[in-house]
């Protein structure tokens, strides 16, 4: 199958948003997507982008049944380790079901790794769900270490009202 991996432009935001939603459905969390294509444009293609994105395009003759030629994406950003410096965090990696099995996922991951290498990053990190065996196997095969298993790392978050409460707590001390 012919495909190209290229950097996303702001014109791709509708497609990226569509696939973000598809990935959320796959992860059984569709109701958690609150963002819009306009949010993506502001956050990724404005003056201080919060993320970078690669998209996968297939030729017109191979478009999806719904007529889409953008059939995969990788969304990533830079993080910082106080031990090793700049790192890349791969937040989303997705290929539409019909287009899997053609090396597109591998190619996307390889391109992100190339970008990490160019920026002299010592690490590439990502999260995957416990039950998502296909993804976990794919990443393990490529050499990723499961830090939750080996070092007991847990991901924690404050959001919504817990974040607001924390922000409004009366200052202690002094």
């Amino acid at each position: 199958m012919d495909f190209t991996v290229r950097a996303a432009t702001k014109e791709d935001c509708k497609d990226i948003w569509r696939m973000i939603t598809e990935l959320a459905v796959y992860e059984k969390m569709a109701d958690q997507v609150k963002i819009s294509p306009e949010d993506l444009e502001r956050d990724g293609f404005g003056q201080n982008p919060l993320f970078e994105c690669l998209v996968v395009e297939v030729p017109e003759e191979q478009k999806s049944t719904d007529g889409f030629i953008v059939v995969g994406y990788a969304l990533y950003f830079y993080t910082y380790s106080t031990w090793t410096g700049v790192c890349v965090h791969l937040e989303d990696l997705y290929v539409m079901p019909h287009f899997r099995g053609n090396g597109i996922g591998k190619s996307l991951l390889s391109k992100v790794a190339q970008i990490a290498k160019q920026k002299q990053c010592a690490r590439l990190q990502l999260c995957a769900l416990e039950w998502n065996t296909p993804s976990r196997d794919f990443y393990a095969y490529k050499g990723a270490q499961d830090l939750t298993a080996t070092e007991g790392w847990h991901m924690l978050r404050f959001d919504g009202h817990t974040l607001d409460s924390l922000a409004q707590e009366d200052a202690k001390g002094s």
């Binding site: 956050d43 490529k142 270490q145 924690l156 817990t162 924390l166 001390g173």
Partner: protein, 169 residues
């Protein structure tokens, strides 16, 4: 004890590195800190800062200020809900704990997160770090690994280089 929180400046990199190493020592991983003051200076105070830092300072008996704690953070992106504040390191020197500095630092960061339009503040904690987990959960943090099954994965430099070399098609 009086303390104050302030934004780190370029002159603070030696204190930042000192505390980074203390935290690493606390986790028994001091030899894994490869960063230098120069790296911290370039990466945090150059044209594109890759991190931001808040410091906690006390006045010593001789009226000199001493940096006794720090929080290092940066902004990340959750494609479902947008901008997040990611807390990379959070540490108060042992001798200065129990004074409310940690609580105030966390409150300050949450305030920052809300002001900067973040919908969440995220971080990773080792499951055997019970004091930290208690500290965060007491304040309402959700454990996404436990509740939703998220696992953290890492490719180190060798795996990264292997993946980065384009394979012959």
């Amino acid at each position: 004890m009086d303390f104050k929180l302030r934004k780190a400046e370029p002159a603070d990199v030696s204190d930042i590195l000192r505390l980074v190493k203390e935290l690493a020592k606390h986790e028994e991983m001091e030899d894994q800190v490869l960063l230098t003051e120069k790296d911290l200076l370039e990466d945090g105070f150059g044209e594109t800062p890759f991190y931001r830092c808040v410091l906690a300072e006390v006045q010593t008996e001789t009226s000199r200020s001493k940096v006794v704690g720090f929080a290092m953070y940066y902004f990340t992106y959750d494609p479902w809900v947008g901008k997040q504040l990611y807390l990379e390191d959070f540490f108060i020197m042992e001798a200065y704990r129990g004074l409310g500095i940690g609580s105030e630092l966390l409150r300050h960061l949450s305030d920052l997160a809300v002001t900067c339009r973040c919908t969440g503040m995220m971080f990773v904690v080792a499951e055997n770090n019970e004091p930290s987990i208690r500290f965060y959960k007491r304040r309402g943090a959700e454990d996404l690994s436990k509740d939703e099954g998220w696992r953290v994965f890492r490719f180190d430099r060798d795996s990264l280089l292997r993946m980065a070399t384009p394979t012959e098609e």
